[in-house]
């Protein structure tokens, strides 16, 4: 279980692991699925990262465009799940 700010942590994971560019300035509103930053393999890695980092389990029906479109929506999802362990 981590107290890390989800936005900061997600920015780092995505720039280091998916974008392969540690210097990338990632906008929280950037459409990461649309612009190809996250592909289906990247999405799987991202889900694993979120599950490990915040100790939550993400059921497949939560892995949706609404939750994973941008860093902002992902962080919102993590925060909601931290408050209430099951709801999307």
């Amino acid at each position: 279980m981590s107290e890390r700010d989800p936005r900061q942590a997600l920015r780092e994971f995505i720039s280091h692991e998916l974008l392969m560019d540690e210097t990338a300035a990632l906008d929280d509103e950037r459409e990461l699925l649309l612009d190809g930053t996250i592909d289906s393999l990247g999405a799987t890695r991202l889900v694993g990262y979120i599950e490990r980092t915040w100790g939550i389990e993400i059921p497949p029906q939560h892995v949706t465009v609404e939750n994973f479109r941008t860093i902002a929506t992902m962080a919102g999802y993590v925060e909601r799940r931290m408050v209430d362990g099951s709801e999307s």
Partner: protein, 532 residues
């Protein structure tokens, strides 16, 4: 009114519009176009392109994410007498610049979302006469917004023949630069005819368009859909990547024919994805591009017992040429699915190293004679010389077969079975990649002394690209900086997921780099957590 002669692809749309202008043609991101509107808007675009100087046979770029305008662009370019060339919006600017220059593209249809990359093209000194579809004036190329395009009823009159160029698809090339595969109206229309007839596509069908237009899977959706006067629902890129969202598009749009890659089906078969929805509309699922993992196909076929499943085979050069209908949930540990029998209008030969047909049941290279075959590679006489096999006929007028580079055998029933590649081309998550291209780009880095790029099979049935390098003495390059370097030159799917720096490469007794031993050594490293 007589019957319209259909010898150009866009005439399928005109024909559908004549027949029922209100039939829905394209749906994407909440926008929809009927066949009447699609015909009208593509004719208007065609006039605008001609006024901007597009001549018969000119290649026009389409640089956009999925939207109904993508369809307008494709058919409008054809109606102007040109050929469409998809430009992958996820490709780095340097690669797009190469394609634009290699193919002699002077006109591009784009959208605001690609503005930043278009600005990079300007910095790379790429010359363009017109960029259509941008509303912003902040590029220095002459731009023209969609609203500036005046509506005109009639299609422009141009003498274009069925043998003329219809589209060019760029794909990975082993020498380090992509190559353009040229298709004509004739090959495209033949493909439309095959698919509409084999899969009984009609006006009550709703086809998905899964693959973006730079990917050859998209041609079945658009061309077969237009031939059958069906509705095509373009699945937004962001929905393609997440199986729960993909499933909801399939359900809500009541897709009746879904053509995709095995990886998407593997992900859809994950528990929790399809079990809640109603997929009773989904009559056929077609998949191709890579071998389908049987375990996942088995569970998917049990989840969708009313759906027919087809394994479709064919490299981009020839479109689809064979298929196999899976009779029922396959044994999980059985043999790989066959690629099946050639379609009726296709001849398949299996050749040995000396171009002689192999005895039945023996493995050889598959060569294909089909009206769906490409014209050749754009501007590459070297490749065209090797791409075809000529069987003598009619006193020196040979029959032309395309050499696929795929190894197959034909069983006693004539059914074809796939055995891999003759060369180092692989499929990774449905994308076609020449491992030699990745190597060739890696070696251009000043610090890289030697590079080895290889494929490693993954658990979900596809292939992951990995690389190892040896570096110059005192080099500061790291796996991360090398992958960043590659990401500036290659599409994301071609960038190795793991890159390892080695002191020296293992070699075969004859001194060649031993990629198999490198793969073994680095796989052992990466499973112990050495991911870079």
């Amino acid at each position: 009114m007589g019957t319209r002669m259909v010898y150009l692809l866009q005439q399928l749309v005109a024909d559908a519009a004549d027949h029922d202008p209100d039939q829905l043609a394209l749906v994407c991101r909440g926008s929809r176009l009927t066949y009447g509107e699609l015909e009208q808007r593509s004719n208007a675009l065609a006039h605008a392109l001609i006024e901007r100087g597009v001549e018969r046979g000119d290649r026009v770029g389409v640089f956009a994410n999925k939207s109904v305008e993508t369809g307008v662009a494709m058919y409008g370019i054809m109606a102007a007498g040109g050929a469409y060339v998809p430009l992958d919006p996820t490709s780095p600017a340097s690669r797009l610049a190469y394609v634009i220059q290699d193919c002699g593209i002077q006109h591009v249809i784009a959208e605001n979302r690609q503005r930043a990359t278009i600005a990079s093209l300007e910095r790379l000194c790429v010359k363009l006469d017109t960029v259509i579809g941008l509303t912003d004036a902040d590029i220095s190329y002459p731009a023209m917004g969609w609203t500036e395009i005046e509506s005109r009823g009639e299609a422009p009159r141009r003498r274009v023949l069925e043998q003329d160029l219809c589209y060019v698809l760029y794909t990975s090339g082993s020498t380090g630069v992509p190559k353009g595969i040229m298709h004509t109206h004739r090959s495209a229309l033949s493909w439309a005819n095959v698919t509409a007839s084999e899969y009984s596509i009609g006006d009550d069908d709703v086809l998905s368009n899964y693959a973006p237009i730079h990917f050859d899977l998209s041609t079945l959706d658009f061309f077969g859909g237009a031939k059958g006067r069906a509705t095509v629902v373009m699945i937004p890129e962001e929905h393609m990547k997440l199986s729960a969202s993909l499933a909801s598009v399939l359900e809500q749009s009541q897709i009746t024919l879904f053509y995709t890659v095995p990886l998407a089906l593997v992900q859809l078969s994950t528990p929790g994805v399809l079990d809640r929805g109603d997929f009773s509309s989904l009559k056929r699922i077609l998949f191709g591009g890579e071998p389908m993992p049987l375990k996942h196909l088995h569970s998917l076929m049990r989840m969708l017992p009313e759906t027919r499943f087809f394994n479709v085979y064919g490299p981009t050069e020839v479109n689809g040429v064979t298929h196999y209908e899976v009779p029922g949930p396959p044994p999980v540990h059985g043999d790989a699915l066959p690629i099946g029998l050639p379609y009726d209008n296709v001849e398949a030969l299996v050749l040995d190293e000396e171009d002689r047909p192999v005895p039945q049941t023996k493995v050889g290279e598959l060569a294909i004679r089909s009206a769906t075959s490409m014209r050749g590679y754009w501007g590459r006489p070297d490749l065209n010389e090797r791409a075809f096999y000529f069987r003598d006929r009619f006193d020196g007028l040979p029959e032309v077969f395309h050499r696929t580079g795929d190894l197959v055998h034909q069983d006693r029933d004539g059914v074809l079975h796939f055995h891999g590649r003759k060369d180092r081309q692989i499929k990774s998550r449905g994308y076609r990649v020449e491992l030699d291209e990745v190597e060739a780009v890696l070696i251009t880095h000043t610090d890289v002394v030697e590079a080895a790029v290889y494929g490693v099979p993954t658990q979900d049935g596809t292939t992951e690209i990995r690389a190892a390098v040896t570096l110059a003495r005192a080099s500061a390059a790291t796996p991360s900086s090398l992958r960043t370097y590659l990401a500036e030159k290659l599409p994301g799917y071609a960038v190795p997921t793991v890159l390892t720096v080695l002191e020296d490469f293992p070699r075969t007794p004859t001194g060649k780099v031993d990629r198999r031993r490198i793969a073994e050594a680095t796989t052992a490293l990466s499973t112990s957590g050495e991911r870079s």
